[in-house]
Symmetry: none
Subunit: 289 residues, 2 copies
């Protein structure tokens, strides 16, 4: 019996490295498996045991013994590891590709900016143009009444959006997330209303309740959330997810802000004839005051 104590320590090294390192200790068919895996790393390992075995010209049990010897409890666990490794590798180039010359003096803001830019790109990637345009059309419909709301942190974003839309068009307001404050207002929300709700993890109970109630009343719900989707997605007509990860103890809402501002811009353009007049009127009021 040979050394079985190869625990796969997550010491930052990739599985491929370990395999190369232990190559000499493998048996003949294990070497074949290792070689095939390394030459199509890691995709060969993502197929089924039988396919992997056939590709390597060995039997299925040999493949199983191979992954067991690497320290995995079974083939699925082995595949899970490969997937995670691959995902990490695919996401990291962005973070890696920023050669901040000045050594380490200013990492805080710079690394944060990098991460946010990555989020914005990912957010753009994940939003269907048609979905975005549909929301623009919805918010540009002057017959609709539009309500904004959000949670503890995202409530500020809802307010931000509302403060712009309020100028662009009429029939716009903000609903505070606290149940006591919105219960009464629900009586006047119906089919012609649109609820734009911001909600990221941890999804807030009262905001969910508000949205569900509005949906039940027939309102059209537009949800801006994170990639894991707030439960509100179940009742939402349109879902616009934004990536929110950041090198911080907090999530970043900048992706949501991007969507919000883009919506404001698009709707303003679409309603420009009337929006222009409203904006001029507001401007005039400010000067007079």
């Amino acid at each position: 019996m040979r050394n079985e104590s190869t625990i796969h320590s997550q010491t930052s090294s990739t599985l491929a490295d370990r395999i190369r390192h232990e190559m000499e200790t493998f048996t003949t068919s294990e070497k074949r498996a290792a070689h095939v895996l390394l030459s199509h790393y890691p995709f060969a390992g993502l197929e089924t045991v039988a396919e992997f075995a056939a590709r390597a010209g060995i039997s299925a049990p040999s493949v199983l013994r191979f992954v067991t010897r690497l320290g995995f409890s079974g083939f699925p666990e082995f595949q899970k590891h490969l997937r995670e490794e691959l995902e990490a590798r695919l996401l990291s180039p962005l973070a890696k590709a920023s050669p901040i010359g000045a050594g380490q003096a200013a990492p805080a803001l710079a690394s944060f900016t990098d991460a946010v830019i990555g989020n914005l790109n990912a957010t753009l990637e994940n939003i269907a143009p048609a979905e975005f345009e549909a929301v623009v059309a919805l918010l540009s419909d002057p017959r609709r009444h539009i309500h904004f709301t959000g949670g503890r942190f995202t409530g500020a974003l809802a307010r931000y959006a509302e403060s712009h839309f309020r100028i662009v068009r009429s029939q716009v307001d903000y609903i505070d997330g606290q149940p006591a404050l919105w219960r009464d207002r629900m009586i006047e929300i119906g089919r012609k209303d649109v609820l734009v709700v911001f909600d990221i993890r941890r999804y807030q109970e009262d905001v969910i309740a508000l949205s569900e109630t509005a949906a039940k009343q027939g309102a059209t719900v537009v949800l801006l959330t994170d990639p894991w989707l707030s439960p509100i997605a179940r009742v939402a007509r349109h879902v616009l997810p934004a990536h929110i990860s950041a090198p911080s103890n907090w999530d970043s809402s900048i992706g949501l802000m991007l969507i919000a501002e883009a919506l404001v811009g698009a709707v303003t353009r679409r309603l420009w004839d009337t929006a222009r007049l409203r904006m001029e009127a507001v401007e005039k009021l400010r000067k007079d005051a």
Copy 2:
């Protein structure tokens, strides 16, 4: 019955593109599946049907219908396609370089995102690391009392920042920009206070007045503004300018948001010992409620 003739033509486009393009024709749960897949593309699709379904919050059959609707004969074929696509992408980094370029559908959001990313890079360039760090140190001083304020639109950003800082540390509040509301509070603002003010063009008279009054009382003023600098810069100890141009009739405040979030993150880290306790306490209160 809807259009079923969606054959997956390999016209050089990735599956993700096709999903985005057909998003509007999907049913509710198909959309959920699509969003989850796109958000963690393509790894979400490499798990089992059951895991994918759970992650998307839908049932396994819905996942099956989703992949069938995409033109695959079954889930394994779907996974095979994802693996091959991923392998191709990984082998030729250039292949993925043009996800948007072939300009067709998504001009509004895409161009907006481009502009915003340009703003963020420019903002990062123009902020001296030392200045940023100085502000972090200032906001991390537990003896200071910190007040946030802003204008019509930027007020929401001030609120956003305040809602985070309020949890990280004590002595945090938000001051409404309207003179009637802050006049009285000024009596208790002095040398130990910090005023963080958000102000971009058109610079708002009342916010300027508030800041000047606070400065006159001896408060330290931190200003987040645009590159043309609000008049408040005259009385501010620290100025952090952010680029705000966007392909829109409105300015973009995302650069300000970037700075705000970066400050939150940095201060949280610096005060972690106490911040952690406060965050846990808040979490506990939420659960109990």
